[in-house]
Symmetry: C2
Subunit: 360 residues, 2 copies
Amino acid sequence: MQTLNVALGERAYPIHIGRGLFGRADLILPHLKTQRVAIVTNTVVGPLYLERLRAGLEAAGVRTVAVVLPDGEAHKDWETLNRIFDMLLAERCERSTTLVALGGGVVGDMGGFAAACYQRGMPFIQVPTTLLSQVDSSVGGKTAINHPLGKNMIGAFYQPRLVLADIDTLDTLPDRELSAGLAEVIKYGLIRDPEFLAWLEANLDRLVARDTDALAWAIERSCRNKAEVVAADETEQGERALLNLGHTFGHAIETGLGYGEWLHGEAVAAGTMMAAELSRRLGWIDTAAVARIEALFERARLPVWGPRMGVERYVELMSHDKKVEAGKLRLVLLRALGRAVMHGEAPAGEIAAAIEARCR
Amino acid sequence: MQTLNVALGERAYPIHIGRGLFGRADLILPHLKTQRVAIVTNTVVGPLYLERLRAGLEAAGVRTVAVVLPDGEAHKDWETLNRIFDMLLAERCERSTTLVALGGGVVGDMGGFAAACYQRGMPFIQVPTTLLSQVDSSVGGKTAINHPLGKNMIGAFYQPRLVLADIDTLDTLPDRELSAGLAEVIKYGLIRDPEFLAWLEANLDRLVARDTDALAWAIERSCRNKAEVVAADETEQGERALLNLGHTFGHAIETGLGYGEWLHGEAVAAGTMMAAELSRRLGWIDTAAVARIEALFERARLPVWGPRMGVERYVELMSHDKKVEAGKLRLVLLRALGRAVMHGEAPAGEIAAAIEARCR
């Protein structure tokens, strides 16, 4: 087991990464406030892991209750969030009860937001079960639900007390979900870790083949990058926004097609190609660099072209982005492979041309 | 104009109290992040004050948008909250736009919670227009909506950047609302400020008669008490809970009768009488003290008896209280007039008897 620390002062917390962590209630117990836990999971993950997690906790004297939500981004809405509140109130959960999110990014985002809001804040633990949530969404305290007009528009910064990333859960992860997670792994290489990018170019096929050692290493390196960025800029006043490479384009794809059509990681891959194309048009990276990024995503079996929704629709959806400031769209672009920057001066014509060029 | 400070380190903020503050955009401008403001108000307050507030801001070069919500506690729910999000997104408000809540406690609670959640947090200003919100709910950063099973169950601690309490707004406040505000004013005297309690016993009739100087003094003294408590215990780990004297009983009344039947302050007055009666049964205060409290509330034209809902229903509703810990109900009681304590050991029989004795 590897342990990383997210250095956030009095809100600091550990990330444990390894095999067979689920049954180990001893890793969870030190982070509970009382011997009560409310578990939030979904219809896909629940049948696989809920009983194992509960059994370990109950054996250690912890009373548990659980709610099983419908699966998928299409359910990351108020209605589903309210099912968590209904359960917490019906079961008389207290503000000292700990909420444990057991699942992928959607479960973690909703469980975390519920924990942030229930009685104005209850303790929270992330148990991510997808590659995407293990390398990205479970770390750093971003929680949210979607609004019909924009993804992740309603939420909170709310840090967990512990992240427990059990690599065993990847054994049951569908190929498509594994690929989606690789989009965020590749992201870290592109935005700030050229050495990791080189390692990925050499080892991507091992990740796709689910080589345990390679996965463990990629998760650890990704979490290390994430933890560093979050510790430096918890509420996204600056550097943290760079983690959103490809996300402004990607969110437009997710919202435009309807939540759940494309997986988040798939939209991020196609969106990153748009950001790369725009960076090329600005003269920052060359055609060969764009091709290298494209090749990596293709080896990860990710889409490298966005859906044809019309450039105007893309731009309209992107105008709701959280990074818009004084009416100006700010985009994360690539100054070089391994170095992302925030840029608010890209001409509208170039943005449109980059989108157009990367739709098919 | 009087100015108090809520000492919360980097989240510190001023409370301005006085007449004619509305038109003074100069008081608001220093607290904006950008020249954009989204105003949340309701159908009662909007027609009276919205245009004056907007005109001042627009004249100072600030772009404003507004949403007018239905009035009353019955609308402090997700559906109404979502109308704020719809407006913010439709108007393309950014996370640097400042949300201004113009209204009473319900508008402030919902506006504040919307500001806490929109894009994970936008700047927020309180412009309270009722006595209750000026002396209590606008200060301290508690925001929330109600759930059918419990009042204020879903919310956030989210501090405003400024509280602007314009006493002129009390001129249009209905008598019933003025009385409801006095319940929270009297509360400060009862829980921690015996000198203020004595002043209230001498001057309550001036407050009911809307004597300007008396109101200004009572608001200032109340805000000073609130600011001290909040600065010492922002997230209610200890002392802050004492501000909830009468509220556990009162929330049961509000939830049990249906939100909006009784005003919050009315329920707090009747609830405080239950807390006083229980304190008497525990031997902490005598019959004469209970009578003094009752006399104060009666002079303020507040109810001193709870509605007959059945003791079991009260206890059931109170079991959802946020102060419940390890299944145990913790109540704010009076050790003496002017000194409240948190107590988790009151026998169930005595709690029931106190409720029974104060229902009519």
